[in-house]
Symmetry: C3
Subunit: 296 residues, 3 copies
């Protein structure tokens, strides 16, 4: 009898995410072990417990999910988990703090239904937040030019620098301020895609602003709480055509996001030693879309 | 394949109740997620995690159980959980802090085996405690007249006022003090039922006092730790006849209490959006009794 | 349908051991309830929850595992759990804090492959630690003479006194200091077995020291982190012959330790009311070895 598929949920919050737990169960795992309030320095001992209980031939039946509302702390857990392991004692690890990775992947893949990413240009509003950073990173790695916008150009630049430090090509990233009308207009005019990645209830782009984007093929608003981030884009929009654009709201992206999240958990158990963050989720999401698209 | 039945156990204590967890598993749920030390202000995020993971058609496969030793805090969690949800994103919620709801329902239903509740009269001793309050509430809603007794008539009256605020008919509730011999005697003489709902090891009614209740058909003592709450009633009594009365001790009521608890957990998954507290447990308990009673 | 086999994991650490949880699942339990940060004074309520939910006829389907890195606190939990229960409301309880019990049993059973324990002599290095104490206790109960060595003879003597208080025959225990060359030499020369039970990375016996043990049949080093505790014994050694000795390293003992741990968890559910610590694990380990040894 093969061993139970056990997922360890490491969460930085005082209560491990209910959402992540239920998705994990629906992804087909056998047993969930929830660990809340996990600190970076506690990861090593927890991971040792996962490495040394089952023989290497069974380590694909144990995996780690890292979540929680603090994305920065979650990233530390993720790095510490990976750094603790060595061959052949590796289990798979996935990170999706607050859904930021699966949301970013789903947003970019939604845009990719309408735009050939390579060589195109995108404006990412509120690019310094967890989702915005990841959208920008994925796009640049897909060979887009990306304008990263936030209220402060300094913070936008910090975000660019952080992405470059992660190996993203600096030539594809440009930091701008949303208060700088000249650059904002230029970015909008140049872009085929705009992504609003702001906090709940912050309007990032007015209808007039949106109309400036003559070349926009896609507008994606990831804010789920009114007022929405892009005026005129609906919460439920899923490729709604307006003015030559395809519009997506948070719930319109949510279905694909959920599928990516669930498929990523399932992928953890395919083999041991996998690491899954937003970049790997792009591949997982592309497979989902390919399976759903009828072959003509 | 239908989705796993997941129960979220929200508990106000630092360790979520072992008792409630085991009952839940024996009630046939598939997966339990235990959350301890839950504060009222944390309920919203936890409930959101339950609302938004599965589609509305599957929400009857997720439910919430609220427990813990602090009944007042538990009630806040219960209200906050219900207030957080809206159609069609509702999951079922049940509250049974320290077993107070299932115990109260089982006690009243035990009495109802011998007394026609409507129009009869009951004396509830230590009525200001969690179980006492619930016994009084259920009885009044069953159209009994209820004397709520505690050492202080002011506290009895506060309890009456609280029940009236919950919609119980004030005409059926009377606050008395256990130190007031005139009223205590009057209540005993008028009652067909007496319930002792006090803290462990507090004697609430002496043998002489009990003998004053000439019209008593039922005496129920819910205290499980000696000295018992009603002198002369045994811990294991389950409808033992004495002096024309049927007596019940805590363990004699316990079997039905346990069945109600378990059936209530199972009922959470029949449809989504159910709310189960002591009042709903009366119906669940009646169904259990009806199934167990042979049809002549 | 028989009830689920539920294991309660009581752990003294802020996160209940991942290792113990995974082993429990691989031992065939149905459901695990993890309780972390458990204090001795909290055990009673938790155990009550286990005692009173299922009828006595089903109590062999609920059991308690006590673990965590603090062995002294774990022992308190274990005693409190046992003291809370009474017939017929007993569930089985096992203690294996940091694996100290299963490791000690596996070490002694490894030695017993080569030495007839009764009447032989053993030197236990770092005998005051959790594993060392247990190795010494088991050996003395198997009628070995045991030298308990630590840097301070006073601490060695405290350990002897503690074992005597637990009922071990004082005539079989001798406290020595590792700094006392005369006694250390005498112990080495007299012993057929030497066990190194020290903290990670502390060398307890040099190659020259080991060579003094002319009568040694077995050398077992339970330290898994270099530098190893006995110079010349390899981490993976599993009965490697050297100079007429059979040598075992931590990983060489680890396979049997893991089997004992797993079989002990399974044994909890054979009947209710079992208590399993290092002494019971000896019997469980002997059964494992007997089953593995081909009958000629």
């Amino acid at each position: 009898m093969s061993k139970k598929r056990i997922l360890l949920q490491f969460d930085t919050d005082s209560h491990a995410s209910v959402f992540d737990a239920i998705v994990a169960m629906d992804a087909g795992i056998d047993r969930l072990l929830q660990y809340s309030n996990v600190k970076p320095e506690q990861v090593r001992d927890l991971v040792h417990g996962a490495m040394y209980t089952r023989g290497p031939q069974d380590l694909n039946r144990t995996a780690i999910f890292i979540g929680g509302s603090n994305v920065v702390h979650g990233e530390q857990l993720y790095r510490n988990a990976i750094d603790t392991m060595f061959d052949p004692f590796r289990v798979s690890v996935m990170i999706d703090c607050n859904g930021s990775n699966s949301t970013a992947a789903a947003a970019v893949l939604s845009a990719a239904r309408h735009v050939n990413l390579e060589g195109s240009c995108a404006l990412v509003l509120a690019a310094t937040g967890p989702v915005g950073q990841r959208v920008a990173k994925i796009l640049a790695n897909e060979k887009c030019k990306v304008y990263l916008s936030s209220r402060s150009v300094e913070r936008s630049q910090e975000c660019v620098d952080a992405l470059v430090a992660q190996g993203v090509a600096s030539s594809r990233l440009a930091a701008i301020s949303s208060n700088d009308e000249v650059w904002s207009s230029k970015a909008l005019e140049e872009s085929q895609m705009v992504f609003a990645c702001g906090a709940a209830g912050v309007k990032l782009l007015t209808a007039e602003g949106l109309a400036q984007g003559k070349g926009l093929k896609v507008a994606i608003d990831l804010n789920a709480v009114p007022p929405l981030g892009i005026e005129g884009v609906g919460l439920m929009d899923k490729g709604v055509e307006r003015e030559g654009r395809f519009d997506y709201g948070a719930l319109g992206v949510g279905g694909l996001k959920m599928k990516i999240h669930k498929a990523s958990v399932a992928a953890l158990f395919e083999t041991n030693g996998k690491t899954i963050d937003c970049q790997e989720m792009m591949g997982i999401g592309r497979d989902i879309i390919a399976r759903e698209t009828p072959v003509l």
